[in-house]
Subunit: 180 residues, 2 copies
DNA sequence: GTGAATTTTCAGAAATTATTGAAAATTGTA
DNA sequence: TACAATTTTCAATAATTTCTGAAAATTCAC
């Protein structure tokens, strides 16, 4: 199976962006192939389309599975593993955010938490103040994100479209309470 | 100036996380030093505290400035440049998100946009459907984020604390309109 | 304008990360 | 169980990224 010409642009781009999204060039390209190809693809097809080694494909697939972005699919009478996206584009995006939070926020939060546990948590120290501030911010972000993540996609879309609308409501509410 | 012992943990951690946050180990460590130190610090102090070369510090500072995370500060009678955070923790966090959107979302969005411009935008093709879906998702995310970013920190905090509260309101609203 | 203080640049070196491909392990079928 | 198909592993190598430090550029006080 050859890489279809109309996919080339996206494969190249997803490759370039890959490292910014948290994986590497090859893994990004593999994701592009899997997302933009209607039929599930197998490892040999991916290796051929991207001209990379079979071993590299194997590692990349493991990575994409650890991100829960792809799923195995079996075809009757074929022992090969075929891969397809683990959900809709919307679900994949949420999944990427979720994994990134796990990798980018959670470790820091747990360090800050343990730091605040230590009783020598001297509030006079500037650094301790900052630790507290970052901790509270990340904690707020995390609970907010959990909330959001639990919402069904349609409500979430509606909420996002509302955007500053919600903000305006809150601003008005605030102005009123300040006048009291 | 020596690296204060109580900062060591954070410097090491910010270093490890650096690459996940979009810069490299050294730049992460430099950010930690600047954020956790009350007094503005100069390039030589950073180089000494982190035991890295003066040239490396210069490049790192440029990077942090390109992210708009730090600002120059001048002391009277001292020609050296001193550096301090460009804002509160909250503002720095928003700034990181903002820069990352610029680097991680905008390039993809502009590719997808140009792809949809091309008239051979054949809706029968599976790949084109996906292009459209990703485009719409990123567009929605971008306008939402712009909205959010314009809000004042206090309203934003309130909104985040509300979290699923807003979601519940929307869910109820939806259930009602479905019954009609 | 001169020159010392300071910052920036960048070629080469070091460190890190990604890739290959052959061997080992696993899986499924007969 | 035997064996062929398939996947995974991992040591060696290749590619990329980061770092150093000396030289060049800039800045500013006199």
């Amino acid at each position: 199976m050859e890489l279809p010409a109309e996919l080339e642009t996206f494969v190249v781009h997803f490759g370039e962006m890959g490292s910014r999204w948290g994986f590497n060039r090859t893994v990004g390209q593999m994701l592009a192939v899997i997302v933009f190809t209607e039929e599930p693809v197998n490892a040999d097809q991916i290796a051929n389309m991207l001209s990379i080694s079979r071993g590299n494909v194997s590692m990349g697939l493991k990575e994409l599975q650890s991100w829960q972005l792809i799923r195995v699919h079996h075809k009757p009478g074929d022992r090969k593993d075929y891969f397809k996206p683990a959900g809709s584009i919307w679900e994949l995006a949420l999944q990427v955010l979720s994994e990134r939070r796990k990798r980018e926020v959670d470790p820091t939060l747990s360090l800050l938490r343990s730091q605040l546990m230590n009783d020598h948590n001297d509030e006079r120290h500037y650094a301790n103040e900052k630790v507290r501030e970052i901790h509270d911010l990340l904690e707020l972000f995390n609970t907010w994100f959990d909330d959001i993540h639990r919402m069904n996609p349609e409500s979430l879309k509606t909420l996002m479209k509302l955007g500053s609308g919600v903000g305006k409501v809150l601003d008005i509410k605030e102005k009123i309470s300040r006048k009291k």
